[in-house]
């Protein structure tokens, strides 16, 4: 468990800002105690300081996970957000996409969202903005990147991709071994 370097912290916050914008602040300044980001084996964990203190009693080699894992830094020093970050991305998300019930299962198998699967979309979503994908019953399913702006979506043909898939909750099963 070590602090993030300046560079990595910057990468992390830029990435988070894509999805939740200025709400990043709310992750840091919380009324119920101080929370912080820590790095452990190239993975970023978001954890309360109280828990962090207790976790430091363990040998780092024997420590598997503390708090919530947000993502992983790749060898080329890019951050790949994991689906586990969804718990914190979903409540603060700026741009949202709702998929039709018929397309729910498709999305959970890792497919991009086409226009035909699109149920609703936030009004002023720009192109390539980070979006959180919900089911029609407001259950967060994953997140991705908007392939088109809201205005373009209206004109697009049914098979055109609206949202590029980045992570979905099906990964808990599909890639349980590589995720953690």
């Amino acid at each position: 468990m070590k602090r993030l370097s300046e560079e990595r912290a910057k990468i992390l916050f830029e990435k988070l800002a894509k999805f939740i914008g200025p709400n990043v602040k709310q992750l840091i300044d919380r009324p119920d105690g101080t929370y912080c980001f820590r790095e452990h084996r190239d993975r970023v964990y978001y954890v309360s300081e109280k828990i962090l203190k207790l976790a430091e009693t363990f040998n780092p080699n024997q420590l598997v996970c503390v708090g919530t894992c947000f993502g992983k830094f790749t060898k080329s020093n890019k951050l790949k957000l994991h689906i586990t970050a969804l718990t914190y991305l979903a409540p603060y998300a700026q741009y949202k996409i709702w998929v039709k019930p018929s397309f729910e299962q498709q999305f959970l198998y890792g497919n991009h969202v086409p226009k035909s699967g699109l149920g609703r979309i936030t009004e002023n979503t720009p192109q390539y903005a980070g979006t959180v994908v919900y089911s029609m019953s407001d259950m967060p399913l994953g997140f991705g990147v908007a392939a088109r702006s809201t205005a373009d979506c209206k004109l697009a043909d049914p098979l055109a991709t609206v949202c590029f898939h980045q992570a979905d909750i099906g990964e808990y099963i599909r890639s349980e071994d590589t995720l953690f």
Partner: protein, 704 residues
């Protein structure tokens, strides 16, 4: 977590598609037979039938007359066959006596008989004879059966044969039923010459065969359950328990989850009044481990029994709680849910691979107050302590979940159980040490296993009660059966009644054991704790009968281990002594006449003897070293060393004194020594146990 299991099993209903097209086959009357063919006789046919019958009757009456004339005996029949002409004349006379209209027919009959060869006639006779014999046999058998029926009222006849090849499963089942019947009313139904033990042994054998258990586990189960309960348990262990799910209260309410799942075609119901989060699933059209609700962390698939220890633990908010054996995270996440993600939850497990499932489940269910670590349970005490509550769902033999994992039926042995409860004892002591007795809200430990064996349950708790300042408190579960306070020769603390046992046949959940302990003092009782002895304990118990108190046990075991070492030692000494004795004897026999002539000894033969004795010395030295390690009492060692030295010296001296006369016997001595040497080595290998008293005497006599 059963995500890969196929929960949507469809059973075939009805006879199938093709059967509807085909009608049942109909047969013409003459093939089908039955009463219709008889009624359809024409008038003439009936008349002919009557005539035929008349004829036959006459024929029979005629034959009877013949039989009166010649009484049938085997000798005479053979004589008849020998002399054909006599037979013929006799027949002729009999036909003359009969009525005229039948004469022609009769004649033809006789002719046909005449045409028969001797062999054929003999064959007919033989067949008749055989028929008669078989009839007699059948009658006899019927008599026997009637007799057997009469016996049945008094004693149930059960064949105790072991013709396993011929026995079918039905036979075995029938025998099980019979034996159970007998054992339930033993005085009235038993067979005189068969004891209860024999009945029980046979029952055990049959049950093993029928349910494919091994005898060891079956005898364990027979110790725990009464016979009727045992049968129920075995039957219930063959059937899968219903799938149950736990609502994740961090994300969703049970009612919402239930309605969402019903919309997906899942047939479910609340689990019981004792839980507000459990749902039991009867059938499902979708795989329960892959619905969007599951992936979103709205529920967790876990057995009904694994809710119990967490309910017993009753975690409070803002506490520090430890789950020592967390994988795969079902109970741990339940704890986190009850804590509402406050406080700190430590989830530990030894197996790093299984921890992946814990981490995945935590993230999926939205648990973020957890620290997941991979440490040995015993080491946790030195890393962190001062917990408000600890849950120990220890590793066990899994005898309660036979329906889940049928390999348990045959794979467990005494050593496995010992290994388990040895580990459980270590873990429970660590768990208690991790607890903080001064905690304002807690200081509780919940111990649970999915085993039904008292060795892994009550005995472990009993051990903890003796070793640490803990007491049993009610578990907070209003159902379940009370724990044992006695089992075979073991007597447990009476408060063990507060523990709870759950069985597949009574509660329709996996076999489970839950105990809740409260730590009332952080001090460790003086003179109780000794880690090394604890480790030794169960291994030695194999040889030792089990004592009631652990203190006594320890001492006894310690003694016994020393005794074994000593015995080995003594044995060695004894053998050396014997060698010496024999040598002395030989010497005595041969030297008496020539004792005064002490001629210089033959150096070569004595040399060999010396060498062998030296070898013996080496071996004894090795043994001594072992003993030093094990026993550690030096004074004894010194004494023994001296003794052995004496013995060996004596042996050499004895050889020396033989002198020339020993020459002749030296070869014989050599042989004997060899033999003894071999015997000794064998004895050392086998570690034979000899009685202490006589050995001491022998050694003493040898010394003098």
């Amino acid at each position: 977590m059963g995500r890969k299991a196929n929960f949507a099993e469809k059973q075939k209903k009805g006879p199938g598609r093709k059967t509807k097209k085909q009608k049942p086959p109909s047969f013409p009357a003459h093939i089908a037979g039955g009463p219709e063919s008889e009624t359809k006789l024409s008038h003439r046919q009936k008349q002919r039938l009557l005539k035929r019958k008349e004829k036959q009757q006459k024929l029979v009456s005629k034959k009877k007359v013949k039989q009166n004339e010649i009484p049938p005996s085997d000798d005479e029949v053979s004589a008849d066959n020998m002399s054909d002409d006599h037979d013929q004349s006799d027949d002729a006379s009999s036909t003359e006596d009969n009525q005229a209209p039948n004469k022609l027919f009769d004649m033809s009959d006789e002719e046909s008989e005449d045409e028969m060869l001797e062999v054929e006639k003999a064959n007919i006779e033989l067949k008749k004879k055989q028929k008669r014999e078989t009839e007699e046999d059948e009658e006899a058998e019927e008599d026997d059966e009637e007799d057997g029926g009469e016996d049945n009222r008094e004693a149930l006849q059960i064949s105790f044969q072991d013709n396993d090849k011929e026995l079918t499963l039905q036979d075995v089942q029938q025998r099980i039923k019979d034996i159970l019947l007998v054992l339930n009313d033993f005085k009235r139904l038993r067979q005189e010459n068969i004891s209860r033990a024999e009945y029980v042994a046979q029952l055990r054998k049959d049950l093993c065969l029928y349910y494919s258990y091994d005898e060891f586990l079956m005898s364990k189960l027979m110790d725990i359950f009464s016979l009727s309960e045992l049968m129920e348990f075995l039957e219930a262990s063959e059937v899968q328990r219903p799938v149950t799910i736990r609502t994740n209260t961090l994300k969703v309410r049970r009612r919402d989850l239930a309605s969402a799942l019903i919309n997906r075609g899942v047939n479910l119901d609340p689990l019981g009044k004792w839980t507000k989060v459990g749902l039991v699933v009867y059938s499902s059209q979708v795989p329960l481990g892959a619905t969007p609700e599951y992936l979103a962390g709205h529920y967790m698939i876990q057995g009904a029994s694994s809710l119990l220890p967490v309910i017993a633990l009753a975690p409070q908010e803002h506490e520090r709680i430890l789950d020592m054996c967390a994988a795969p995270g079902g109970k741990s996440s339940h704890i986190a849910a009850l804590m509402k993600n406050t406080g700190t939850l430590f989830s530990n497990d030894v197996n790093r691979d299984r921890l992946k499932a814990v981490v995945a489940n935590f993230h999926r269910l939205g648990v973020n107050n957890a620290i997941v670590s991979c440490e040995k349970g015993e080491k946790l005490k030195s890393i962190i302590s001062g917990f408000d509550r600890v849950l120990l769902d220890g590793p066990c033999t899994g005898t309660g979940v036979i329906s889940k994992d049928p390999t348990v039926k045959t794979s467990k042995s005494d050593v496995d159980i010992q290994r388990c409860y040895n580990l459980q004892r270590k873990l429970i002591l660590t768990a208690i040490d991790c607890l903080d007795a001064n905690s304002t809200t807690g200081g509780y430990l919940v111990y649970s296993t999915c085993s039904v064996l008292p060795e892994e349950n009550e005995w472990v708790i009993d051990y903890a009660l003796k070793k640490r300042n803990v007491k049993l408190v009610p578990t907070g579960l209003d159902f379940g059966e009370e724990g044992f306070i006695k089992y075979k020769q073991l007597r447990f603390h009476p408060s063990l009644k507060l523990t709870r046992r759950f069985y597949p046949h009574t509660h329709n959940m996996d076999g489970f054991f839950v105990a809740k302990l409260k730590k009332f003092s952080n001090a460790i009782p003086v003179g109780v704790d000794d880690e090394e002895e604890e480790e030794q304990e169960p291994e030695v118990q194999e040889t030792n009968s089990i004592n009631e108190t652990s203190k006594k046990k320890k001492r006894a075991n310690h003694d016994s281990s020393n005794e074994v070492q000593k015995k080995k030692f003594k044995k060695n000494e004894e053998i050396n002594g014997e060698i010496i004795k024999k040598v002395k004897k030989d010497v005595g026999a041969n030297t008496k006449p020539s004792q005064q002539k002490l001629v210089a000894s033959d150096s070569t033969t004595n040399g060999v003897l010396k060498k062998k004795v030296m070898k013996n010395k080496d071996v004894t030295k090795k043994l001594k070293q072992k003993n030093i390690k094990a026993v550690g009492s030096e004074t004894n060692e010194v004494k023994k060393k001296k003794q052995i030295k004496k013995n060996n010296d004596g042996g050499i001296e004895g050889n020396k004194t033989t002198g020339k006369s020993a020459d002749a016997n030296s070869k014989i001595n050599q042989k004997k020594l060899k033999k003894n040497g071999d015997a000794r080595s064998n004895v050392n290998k086998k570690k034979l146990k000899m009685k202490k008293g006589p050995l001491l005497k022998k050694v003493a006599t040898i010394d003098h």
